[in-house]
């Protein structure tokens, strides 16, 4: 399986994503947002974190118009795997590939800290091989990560098993205290209808080596590998 990390002007976790994928033996290329690109059917497309276009206007609001996003949308449409992390999640919401919106943190401050996530849905290659109910440690680092949607959307996400992760305590219990940004229902990540597009605020690519504190984030990449039956 090949992975592509998309770089927008202002993206900063592109290299971290390439590094983390490499820890799991996945070779990743970087593409610039104006490059003419085509994605292979089984390619993993990563929209990484950062401040695309300086977060000017609204997070992700300008990047959604980048030329590369047409190819990303086509890839998602065709069932290809797309993961948006942090700013990538914001871009996916802005471009309509995922419902809802990321608003300013409840604290009105940027937050960089460890957070535990509990996997909820296993109906996606990203989460199929994660242990439901267990706490996975991954850092968050954002000023606008509070997931908000109207009540019917929140209900729909629950009813259709599209909540990928919730913020939780270390033991996997979902509590208000564990929520770093005030997201509705502690939502940390959501899936599209087919389960091939994942958006999440926490940074799995930062939890990729014991030297950096832990490697829980690798579980997501390993799940993808196992789900698509790919050899590395």
């Amino acid at each position: 399986m090949r992975a592509t990390v998309v770089v927008f002007p202002g993206t900063w976790s592109d290299n971290d994503c390439v590094w983390a994928l490499g820890q799991c033996g996945i070779e990743a290329r970087k593409v610039w947002h104006t490059d003419e690109v085509t994605f292979d059917r089984d390619e993993l497309v990563v929209l990484p974190g950062g401040f695309s276009y300086g977060d000017y206007l609204r997070t992700g609001a300008i990047a959604r118009f980048s030329p590369v996003m047409e190819a990303v949308a086509r890839h998602a449409e065709a069932g290809g795997l797309v993961i948006g992390i942090c700013n990538g999640f914001q871009i996916l919401c802005e471009s309509g590939l995922l419902p809802g919106v990321l608003m300013r943190n409840e604290s009105l401050q940027f937050r960089c800290q460890d957070a535990y996530l509990v996997p909820v849905s296993q109906a996606s290659p990203f989460t199929a091989h994660l242990e439901v109910g267990r706490g996975y440690l991954m850092p968050v680092s954002h000023g606008e990560g509070r997931y908000v949607a109207d009540e019917s959307t929140i209900a729909m996400l629950d009813d259709t098993d599209r909540v990928a992760f919730r913020y939780a305590e270390a033991d996997g219990t979902v509590t208000a205290d564990a929520n770093p940004n005030g997201s509705m229902n502690n939502i940390a990540g959501i899936l599209n209808e087919r389960g091939n597009v994942l958006g999440m605020m926490p940074h799995p690519e930062r939890a990729c080596e014991p030297l950096l504190g832990n490697e829980d984030g690798n579980a997501i990449w390993l799940s993808v590998l196992e789900a698509v039956g790919a050899k590395v």
Binding site: G10, Y53, G54, L212
Partner: protein, 736 residues
Amino acid sequence: MPVDDLVLQQVAMSRSEYERLLDMLDREPTEVELGMVGALWSEHCGYKHSKPLFKHFPSTGDYVLTKTGEENAGAIDLGDGWVAVFKMESHNHPSALEPYEGAATGVGGILRDIFAMGMRPVALLDSLRFGPLSDQRNRRLFRGVVAGIGGYGNCIGVPTVGGEVQMHPAYSGNPLVNAMCVGVGRREHLLSASASGVGNPLVLVGADTGVDGIHGATFASVELSEGSDAHRPAVQVGNPFLEKLLMEACCELAEQHKDWIEGLQDLGAAGLTSSAVEAANRAGTGIEIDVALVPRRAQHMTPYQVMLSESQERMLVIPKREHLDEVLAHFRRWEIRADVIGTVTDDQMATIRDGDQVVARIPVRVLVDPPQYPPEGVRPSSLDALQAEDLAAQPDLEPSEASSMLLRLLASENISSRRWIYRQYDHQVQNNTVVRPGGDAAVIRIKHSTKGVAAATDCNGRMLALDPRTGAAMAVAEACRNVVATGAKPAALTDCLNFGNPEKPDVAWQLEEAILGLSEAARVLEAPVISGNASLYNEAPTGSILPTPSIGVVGLIEDARTALTIAPEPGDTVILLGAEVAQEAATLAGSEYQWLTRERIAGMPRIDLGLESRVQRLVLDLHERALLTAAHDLADGGLAVALAEMCIAAGEGIDASDTAAGARLDATLFGEEPSRFLVATANPQAVLEFAAGHNIPAVALGVVGGDRLRVGPVDVALAAAAHEWGEGLDRVLAKI
């Protein structure tokens, strides 16, 4: 041109300095020339009062690759072809007026100094000083500065991993914002900021030039006053998004196309003027600039304004003629504007044109030769009584009060957890942060290598207020100790000399003494001074700031996997190294305990640099022998606070109740004698023997475990200590 006092005041030039200029030029300067000279002769650019003292700095050492002041930042050799560059710079005056933008552009400026050398910024640190947070105005500045640092650093993708902050009334109205950046790269990618090669073009890249920040360098070189708010236009506005593109483009240029360019220089204080002139001076060339070619963001700008604008996010590239098109295309690809604005000449003149009209033509040597004023310091006689005060005359702490005193210290604004600050900073981006903020120093690993760099900043202005020479030496020692506590060997240091008005005799004396103390400590501890900055005229209406030479130390750890934090493991023994447990009242001089209990400081701080050096070497030796599981330096709050911090970090208590109190309980628990570490080990016998072999005092204090923190008569629940320490800053900042 008639030059009256008002015109000179605008460029912060004295009448005698103007006379000197007339002598050097043998004619009257044009308006543009006067502006350029004023900026480059300002304290901020010209170091008029501080440069005569720089000769004291040790500037060579095993690791050092650059000469002090020769490039934008100092460089050290980390071995195997790896290089680190670093520097610290002040942005005090802008932050006093406009805390968010002042701090943000301070971060932007220091980043450009680093990537101008072709190295990738890997870490940011900030040394901050404010007035007491009980004052609403200080809280506003504090919040604004922290938000500005985060706003810029988080956006650009460089982790903010460390620094320190101290509050004292002398900083009310004149906060200190010193930003430090560390860059790492391959030695072959190291760039110079010189305008070499006659006929090569000068290319201005990045932001358009506006009217912001004009006279910023001169504004930074006068005292703040009631009327300072009128200088708000001298404060620039940052665009971190543009800087991110600029950084990527410049680093890529250094890494992949170094052969295309002769030099790369940032635009900082005094904008295009200092950037071009310094680059020409380094190369022994001249420059010719046509201001009509400089892209503007405001209409009707005069040549004077274009040459002195401090608009942020701009760099000057000196490509080789034959590679000009490739360089321009390179920046276009990164969606950054790049324009040829002039050429390198062979006449050693700075020639500024506006189309066909020459508006300035002045020798480079005049511009870079500001007058020097060796400080004429006078030791203030008031210090005699202050230093001689017998601290033993104060009543000692009652044992029954010891527990509550520890909790009070842990919750104080100078000691409590800095989490409120650093959780607003992205401290992990780039996937290199091995030791995170909250300990003694941050450790950043270098990918594709086992190595890591440790970095810390320090300075306790209270110690300098009592004795600037000793205090400055203590600042160097503490910053080195912080780096050593992670297992890294200090390699070099950078400084940011924050002082009051050097034309005042007592401030001049402080400056001189501090530089002597700093230099001596740097020499003994083998951490030469490789870069720095001076920020003088830090005066608020209430008086001078505490003398505050902020020290930033970078150290090398050969195997980043072995880096130590301050958190011990349960079952470890904690050992005090460097001194016996019992301390005398004199060690309370300038301490947090003294400040908190008496709201004044007195006494004479002291440091034995020989002992300091030996203790640091001992800790490094113990680390190399893999005998340590954690280490922590003793500083603010002394032994009891350091022990509490280790236990809080570990989430484990300790029983050190047998710790013998000496004649003075307060000094033993909270005295701030330097040259001391707490180390944790699973093999106390070996550590004690090793220390004894090196003739360094070592005392086992207790074993880590349980839920209580006991030291001497102190007996508190660990949870209570953790709560006080953890919430101290949040509590005071919860107020509007």
